[in-house]
Symmetry: C2
Subunit: 465 residues, 2 copies
């Protein structure tokens, strides 16, 4: 007889459900077969307890064994990290901390652990764990982070698919560059001329936006969700060299449509994390950031406000006049807002999420639509408490002559003639935005370093994997 | 009053639905507001017809206008490709070819087309369209291809999420290499030492498998779905330099579990395309490959067979003896099966999808599990009619000593000590596979060139975008 194993996530659903069908299923489960990894194992000679994680949910399962189990001595000496499979009797324990336990009847050691296993029972620092990226998914914090990452990725797809957006895979190797010649990684081969493979020098993309605009002008609403790259030597907690970006593009849409989409998307994602990652968010709230739950709930239930850049500058000037201390207290129209300024606006002035709109054109990219004032562009940055900027978007310049002039001024027309041509061939008003996916994870978990949100972080640190 | 527009996909759903609720909704729609792009426009002076595509579905919408419309002359002279918005009266036409039409009341030209617009009414060759990748999504074939691409991408996520797999973003820039030092792209910077950024030479990944194995040993069932790269100068219809791969990895699983997962995944994906892309598949069946529908239905309803490599060799020898002509007729145990051999096995011998298993170890990668015969490894290739190999998988070598020996022999241990370590720290039997996503699209559409399945193809051709 082949025994189909059960998983922790299924057992927890069964036990916590009130569905009659589930209750019946549970009654039929007597002996179960499971596999997983030992988190802790303590034995007092007559009775032993194992906290087992089988990878299917954040929670552990409690195993109980006594010395009647064959090879009891082997079991009682298994260390943290060992992989086992076992048959056991499922026992409901409604009075105890965990709703059920499993009494081990028979077990097999699937994989033992050598004594130099670096993940011992004690808590490890995030810095220590960063050095063992191949093992840290087994630590509670990373178990939780990568589950939230999975849930958020699916929330993104779910939101856009439900709204009728089409997913587009924009290219990673490119001869174009959305932001002008920034810090890009070169892609070469070992051929005699390392740039000969594609007929010209190419680099890793910094954004899929320009390419995805071509698709918006055929499919109306589209989005990319893929890796992007920056070769900046920014050794900060928030900068990575490789990170995933979500870049939606909406045809027949203006800046207001864009902001509505951003708000809808973020609320959907955060709502989903709050409801599907209950244990994980509870863990982060207890161990990482005690304001997390309150902050996330507040975003879901708040109405995102709007404020122009010019209004924001006025607010900051007022703040300085009334004695607020900024590291950069020299507030002038035309300046780039620093993180301290953004946080002041969202935390002190608005006390919630706020779109700052209509930035001076000199601060923004060539493709953003010029406003009638001749000084600003139809851009929006979403600022949220504790992190500042979370999303940036804009209406795109759809007017051929104006775009051409901006492209010539910024020296990026050569090689991007095709992008300009989109304005001659059935162009229309359109808008889009970009969400840094790894920063969204930081925001939803309270984790402060982007290195702790990526499976194998790629920053300006040396690469080990 | 702000008018919310309707989309083609919504109108077609409403009109074709028998739900009472939808029927009522439809009755309330009298005047609609829409936007889209003109595909064709013909006018006989008193009445004009526009086939409009608004990007939300494969089908066009028929617009009708007469000379009472303001600026009728402008409308009647609009060319293929122009973007318009309009108010119109929705009229059901159950007797006509299309179930409804829209009588234009008022329109606005959102974006005109210059006279050198390359997409005219006539049909264009795929080769011609390949040169205008920023415009070809507006051609019927690519409209259909990229919709199927979107549907398949979601089908992949849906299948694995429903089965409890966790999505993992494995890194693209890496100092490791799953297949040994193959043809990889180098990643460099403009620093004095181009390799100094990450402290060592790095390249673009050829596979996320090794990294995702580390996650399988923490989360049980996981998958990557992301871009991978090959710097091969293969100027064929099936090779790309940048392509998306799906790489699932199952802990506590053997080769049989692996094959069951492959079969379940493919059937789910094809079923979903057949049901959600009805118009697109019909189009491909009529224009591209008249066997497509039959072939896809056959896969969904067939049971995937199993045959060992050794049995396959015997079948091929029999075939040669009975007079079958192969370009390579020299069939010997140990040879790599060519496409012609694979197709003979799946098309003539099995007459359906078949897993060929247990290949000579010399033909396969170092990480595949050695069988007890000492000659073969627990690998499987899924062969399907008309294309041959569609998926490749294997059980991984979980035994430390055997893996270490293979890694030393193949000279890939240096830098991959962490991978070997996964076998010392709670390892277990596990298995996985890889699906080339772009090839899956080729298979599901009948499109023969991988260049026509990627939004902006990356092959050994010169890069334009």
């Amino acid at each position: 007889m082949e025994v189909k194993g059960v998983t922790a996530v299924d057992l927890y659903s069964l036990v916590s459900s009130n569905e009659p069908e589930y209750k019946n299923l549970l009654k039929e489960l007597d002996v179960v077969f499971m596999q997983g990894w030992i988190r802790t194992n303590r034995d007092n000679g007559s009775i032993g307890f194992i906290a087992l994680n089988d990878g299917t949910c954040f929670k552990n399962v409690q195993l109980v064994y006594d010395n009647t189990v064959e090879n009891h001595d082997v079991l009682s000496h298994l260390n943290t990290g060992a992989a086992i499979s076992f048959f056991g009797k499922l026992v409901l324990t409604p009075e105890a901390k965990q709703p059920f336990e499993i009494r081990v009847m028979e077990f097999n050691v699937e994989g033992n652990v050598d004594s130099d296993y670096p993940l011992q029972k004690k808590a490890h620092s995030l810095e220590f764990l960063r050095d063992i990226a191949h093992l840290r998914p087994r630590a509670n914090t990373f178990n939780a982070v990568f589950r939230v990452r999975n849930t958020l990725a699916m929330a993104i797809h779910e939101y856009f698919q439900n709204e009728g957006f089409m997913y587009v895979h924009t290219p990673l190797i490119t001869s174009n560059d959305a932001e002008g010649a920034g810090s890009t990684f070169n892609v070469t081969t070992n051929d005699k001329d390392p740039n000969s493979f594609f007929g010209k020098p190419v680099s890793l993309t910094v954004s899929g936006q320009l390419h995805v605009e071509a698709f918006a002008l055929a499919f109306r609403d589209v989005y990319t969700f893929g890796p992007t790259f920056r070769a900046e030597h920014s050794n900060t907690k928030r900068h990575a060299s490789e990170f995933w970006m979500i870049e939606p593009e909406l045809a027949f849409a203006d800046l207001e449509d864009d902001m509505e989409c951003i708000e809808g998307c973020l609320k959907h994602c955060i709502h989903k994390v709050l409801h599907e990652c209950v244990d994980e968010i509870e863990f982060f709230n207890q161990r990482i950031d005690p304001t997390l739950k309150e902050r996330l709930h507040a975003v879901v239930h708040s109405e995102f406000k709007r404020m122009t850049y010019t209004e924001a500058i006025e607010e900051l000037k007022k703040a300085v006049a009334s004695g607020v201390k900024f590291e950069n207290p020299n507030i002038v129209w035309g300046m780039d807002l620093q993180s301290e300024h953004e946080r002041y606006i969202t935390e002190k002035v608005v006390k919630g999420p706020v779109f700052v709109t209509d930035y001076p054109k000199e601060l923004k990219a060539f493709y953003m639509r010029a406003n009638d004032d001749g000084k600003t562009v139809a851009a929006c940055d979403l600022l949220v408490p504790t992190v500042g900027e979370l999303v940036g978007g804009s209406q795109r310049e759809e007017r051929y002559d104006l775009l051409k002039e901006r492209m010539e001024q910024s020296g990026c027309l050569k090689g991007l003639e095709w992008y300009l041509d989109l304005r001659r061939f059935g162009g229309c008003k359109h808008a889009g935005f970009g969400i840094g996916f790894d920063r969204l994870i930081m925001y939803c978990t309270g984790i402060e370093n982007i290195r702790d949100c990526q499976p194998f972080p790629r920053t300006s640190d040396p690469i080990k994997y």
